[in-house]
Symmetry: C2
DNA sequence: CGCCGTTTTGAGGGTTCTCAAACGGGGTGG
DNA sequence: CCACCCCGTTTGAGAACCCTCAAAACGGCG
């Protein structure tokens, strides 16, 4: 097995304050693995055995209800830690993670977590900053779900994805991973039918362009208008 | 000013592993204060200058939307830390806190946070456990808001409050702080009218009893039934 | 080329919101 | 001590929004 290159981790928030030799140590303890689109990395409620760092691809964090409906709690972009249950003293994962696109991720056994915290300056700090950001994002989502109409929620969801994982193209900004109407409805608590109708309407208005499993936002500003007020 | 008694902190999760002298140190650094019902402890977006421990009363954590609607993110019970922005490397509070009942709270300047983490065994661990629990609770709320009908959300909200802060009475279990229909609607993303109708219906069915600013759940089991499935 | 998963579009109905008005109880001030 | 006033609550009617059910078109992959 070839050694992982140190450049993979250099500059990423949790490791930004570390020197090369320390990064080497960390990499030597990591297990790299590939996950095909749609495959599960871990399941909700499962024993939290490892924590992960996404190198490439996109991860969907999914929560399932007792009645079988599922909602997408979060998307993880390359360079981010995920499955960090140990950071919160949990011994099971609170949600499932699946690959939204083909992914490469490193992972470490949870027993190393405390070592990392103790040994590597800035690792704890940066990690808890991430937790804080996700917590803030979740609060925003709660507020959105509680107060906004469906149209505004869908617009907000698109904007969030564009901001976090957008990729510029000549047409506009493209969401960088495959996404279906059903996926969007799972993020916003609505139905794929309503999402389809909204996207069709927006396409007519020149705000977005979409094909199968693929969305390009041509006018982020226009979507932002929709989020603000119904008027 | 009389010294605070050490028994205030003994046994509380963040301090459970500490010895008396350490608790003494912590108490001597704390500023105690009383907050009248309805008064603000801190505001959303404000500079995070202090972190708090609630000794008595109840705190509502509130997020306000650009359009002025507000939703209640969380309730804090006695013995819990709140305003712990520093734990997540934030320099502003992500939400406002107001006293839902008359409250007594201790507080410390944020610059002591890192000292506490470094100096007191278990403080970090227990605090992050709390963060983890709140994060899990928020995920559950997101799922509820996204998938459940209004009736189920209101039932779930009542049950959550009963579980976290319930007080047994001869009639049933009483929510331990003053709460209006409007408050409940702010927690569930609905209107006070709908909440009023639901409570009236449930009272007729013998599930709850309510007076002004006051709710007693007489049949938690019955409410749990409502949460599960609409059928 | 055929199948399956995704998307589109229509019609109808139900839940919940909005608007409106009146009631009740508790606290405050006279 | 009583009366008034304010805040919280109740209830009704109508409408809007979105979901459910249904069916067909589309496009990629084997």
């Amino acid at each position: 097995m070839s050694k992982l290159d140190e450049s993979l981790l250099i500059g990423l928030p949790p490791f930004s304050r570390l020197e090369r030799p320390q990064i080497r140590e960390i990499l030597d303890l990591a297990v790299p693995r590939r996950y095909d689109t749609g495959s599960a990395i871990f399941s909700e409620g499962a024993e939290a055995e490892r924590f992960y760092l996404l190198l490439d691809g996109f991860i969907r964090v999914i929560r399932t209800t007792p009645t079988g409906e599922q909602i997408i709690a979060l998307h993880i972009a390359p360079g981010q830690l995920f499955g960090i249950a140990p950071a919160l003293q949990r011994d099971t994962y609170p949600a499932a993670a699946m690959a939204a696109a083909d992914c490469i991720a490193l992972s470490w056994p949870v027993r190393l977590w405390n070592d990392f915290i103790a040994k590597y300056d800035g690792f704890a700090t940066e990690t808890y900053r991430t937790v804080g950001e996700r917590l803030g994002e979740m609060q925003t989502r709660i507020v959105d779900l509680a107060t906004k109409a469906v149209e505004q929620r869908v617009a907000a969801a698109l904007l969030r994805m564009v901001n976090q994982t957008g990729r510029k193209t000549e047409e506009g900004i493209e969401i960088a991973f495959p996404i279906t109407r059903q996926n969007i409805s799972d993020m916003t608590g609505t139905t794929l039918h309503t999402v389809s109708r909204l996207l069709s309407a927006w396409e007519k208005d020149g705000l977005v362009k979409s094909t199968r499993k693929h969305v390009v936002v041509t006018s982020p500003h226009g979507l932002m208008m929709l989020c603000g007020a119904t008027d």
